[in-house]
């Protein structure tokens, strides 16, 4: 049974999001970490290498020559039954792309921390979600965090979710580059023992074992490939249930939980802001301010983008007049953008649907001040009156 950790055993530190993740990885007693530097993820690996250099972890760190090899080494290590993690962002994640699919399809429960960053060109080191959204169909579970505390907590929970035999899928734990990765916040850290008891030791399902040899990653043609994909899809479908159980246990230990979506004043809201990561924090402040003025706005913060919790999202927004999506990614040539596409699909079967507006914000680290959110809400009000809205538009950009 998981017990609540007494307050006296909790250490409070000021940590960046990257450092919080590094500490979580340390406490999860991972066996292998293999990574390649890229801003703004670098600190995770630097901090972890420091732990290794000081003998504070029993992890083998593989300082590979590329992200492609980083994830390849993770797959190899995981195939032997090890608990494995890596971290990346942007171009690094793009270079991993081929192996993302291998890791997921080979059902390796690797944890990949991503400090979300824009993709080239032009080269830009700042935050948006183009990198992980681009990998949304790779078969990774995707969890997005709003705070450094949440980054720490989510990393710990990620291993337990990934390694569950009903799941066996890799997880991306995503934080906004610089906004979280480099920003120091108050983080409550659990004692090592509590984390270790919580995550346990990985019990692999199938491993490369000379006494019981198996062939992993074979060629598989038209006669069986589809069945593999069917099973993979089933594993994805099992994620929400496992996630819920893991979070419940985590809550017993810490009092904290996040849910696959977080509802903030949505019950009676006419307009619901739908977003995730740090813009959700900004949106909360906007909701508070607008509520004081008597405006019925709310926020639905998405935590889990993959698998997409369509039902919870639908339930949470179905009574609203409009949902205003704020997303940091563009899907060039698509009717709208990834987050809005998901939402619209989730709502399609409703007889009475809220209007959906889609605002692309913050590309390449463009600041997203509260006024940007307000701007989107005001536009949405106008579109409600006009009974028509564009499929999407950009906010905060010179036209």
């Amino acid at each position: 049974m998981t017990k609540q950790v007494p307050q006296s055993e909790i250490r409070i530190e000021g940590l960046t999001g990257d450092a919080a993740i590094a500490h979580a990885l340390k406490q999860c007693d991972i066996d292998v970490l293999s990574a390649y530097p890229i801003t703004p993820q670098t600190i995770i690996v630097e901090d972890f290498q420091k732990f290794a250099a000081d003998g504070e972890v029993k992890t083998r760190v593989i300082p590979v020559e590329s992200e492609h090899s980083a994830l390849s080494a993770c797959v190899g290590a995981s195939a032997l039954g090890a608990r494995v993690a890596t971290a990346s962002a942007s171009a690094g994640l793009a270079l991993m792309w081929e192996i993302l699919y291998c890791a997921a399809s080979m059902r390796q429960p690797i944890v990949l921390a991503v400090a979300n960053r824009a993709l080239s060109a032009p080269i830009n080191i700042h935050n948006d979600w183009s990198d992980t959204y681009g990998a949304r169909d790779s078969g990774f579970i995707q969890l997005y965090c709003q705070s450094c505390q949440e980054a720490y907590d989510t990393t710990i929970m990620a291993f337990k979710i990934a390694e569950d035999h009903r799941v066996l899928l890799p997880v991306m734990v995503c934080i906004d580059g610089f906004i979280l990765s480099h920003n120091v916040e108050r983080v409550e850290m659990l004692p090592d023992k509590a984390v270790q008891d919580f995550v346990g030791v990985r019990v692999p399902y199938q491993v490369l074992d000379p006494d019981n040899p198996i062939t992993m990653g074979p060629l598989c043609l038209t006669d069986y490939y589809f069945e593999f994909k069917e099973q993979q899809d089933r594993a994805m479908k099992a994620v929400p249930e496992v996630y819920k159980a893991v979070e419940a246990e985590f809550k017993e230990m810490t009092g904290r939980s996040y849910g696959v979506v977080e509802k903030y004043m949505t019950d009676d809201a006419d307009i619901i802001v739908f977003t995730h990561s740090t813009p959700a924090g900004t949106a909360k402040a906007v909701v508070n301010a607008m509520r004081e003025k008597g405006e019925k706005v709310g926020l639905l913060r998405l935590k889990m983008f993959r698998p997409f919790p369509a039902e919870q999202v639908r339930e949470a927004v179905k009574k609203a007049k409009a949902v205003a999506v704020f997303e940091k990614c563009m899907s060039f040539g698509a009717p709208s953008n990834p987050l809005a596409l998901e939402l619209r699909t989730a709502l399609y079967d409703l007889e009475k649907k809220p209007m959906v507006t889609d605002f692309v914000i913050g590309l390449g680290g463009r600041d997203v001040p509260p006024t940007t959110i307000v701007d989107g809400i005001e536009k949405t009000k106008k579109y409600l009156q006009e009974r028509s809205a564009p499929m999407y538009e950009t906010l905060g950009v010179r036209k």
Partner: protein, 312 residues
């Protein structure tokens, strides 16, 4: 370690019959010889290519030892992961094995070209594993395209012998020497014809501490347009004509000529190797005569240089 034929034959093959490699393909022989050298327990990490696709068509497998394939360019990186995971789990008391040999295998394309970065990285990091390339001189799995290992004058579907070009124009990448330049403890060239030399060297590669590299010559009747019964003869001729001389490089510096090459009084003419193969047929047209002679000159010069390095 000297290997006796009797001991070799006692070992159970690591590859079953029923794999789907072409008749006459040298790759399964290369793998079986490797198997005879293994001390075990062993994990094999393979790159995409003929050997991979033909031995593991789901739901069947020809492999009797643990084997993993992830992608085309990452066998060395996967092996790094396997090796380090074993070290970590051993330190934490989570494996029943005292020791694990890790072997990575790639075709020439996977090794000379696309996977070269991963190979170089793994060598530089010094993981204790053996990397073996089975070199059939082209991307055979995708239909005989040129690779960094393709010989000068060789015709492939991306280095055609046409009206103005005589097959591949460039030299073959000297992979063993490039690998040895990483100053790893052991590099050796082998062929499946010289089986005792092969097994002995592979065992040495396993026994040294740190990375080792085995460059196995691997005739491909399909791509080379050679008779299926001539595979072993072509492997022998590759040594006797200097196309694939047999030697070792110790610690990146010391060159040692192996007996089959050392015992050659002089090289046989390159024609002996080329003529039985359709992929060199065009070189015997009059317009490519001088080009062919140039290739011969190059091979001879390379051989003289190698002899010098080996002190013979």
């Amino acid at each position: 370690m000297a290997v006796s034929l009797k001991d070799m034959l006692k070992k159970e093959s690591i590859l079953s019959s029923g794999h789907r490699l072409c008749a006459g393909c040298a790759a399964p022989t290369v793998v079986k010889l490797m198997g005879m050298a293994l001390r075990g327990p062993t994990v094999v990490c393979e790159a995409t290519g003929c050997l991979e696709v033909a031995t593991t068509i789901y739901p069947f497998t020809a492999w009797k030892i643990p084997w993993i394939h992830v992608a085309f360019e990452n066998a060395a990186a996967v092996a790094s992961g396997v090796y380090e995971a074993f070290q970590a789990m051993k330190a934490k008391g989570r494996t029943k094995y005292e020791h694990l040999d890790v072997v990575a295998i790639g075709g020439d394309g996977a090794t000379f070209d696309i996977g070269f970065g991963a190979l170089s990285g793994a060598l530089e990091r010094g993981h204790d594993f053996v990397y073996m390339v089975y070199d059939n001189g082209a991307y055979q799995n995708t239909g005989i395209q040129r690779s960094g290992a393709t010989l000068t004058g060789q015709e492939t579907t991306t280095s055609w012998a046409g009206k103005v070009e005589p097959g591949k124009l460039q030299r073959k990448k000297p992979i063993s020497e490039i690998v040895a330049a990483h100053k790893i403890p052991y590099v050796a060239t082998v062929t499946p014809y010289h089986y005792r030399d092969f097994v002995t060297k592979f065992r040495k590669a396993l026994e040294v501490e740190g990375p080792a590299f085995i460059h196995a010559f691997s005739p491909c009747p399909r791509g080379w347009r050679s008779e299926t019964g001539k595979t072993m003869e072509l492997a022998r001729l590759a040594v006797e004509t200097g196309v694939h001389p047999l030697y070792e490089i110790i610690n990146g510096e010391e060159y040692v000529m192996s007996a089959p090459s050392k015992s050659l009084k002089e090289l046989k003419p390159l024609d002996d190797f080329m003529k039985p193969q359709g992929q060199f047929k065009h070189l015997y047209r009059p317009e490519w005569e001088s080009f062919r002679l140039k290739i011969q000159e190059q091979i001879t010069a390379d051989w003289e240089l190698l002899k010098k390095k080996c002190g013979v």
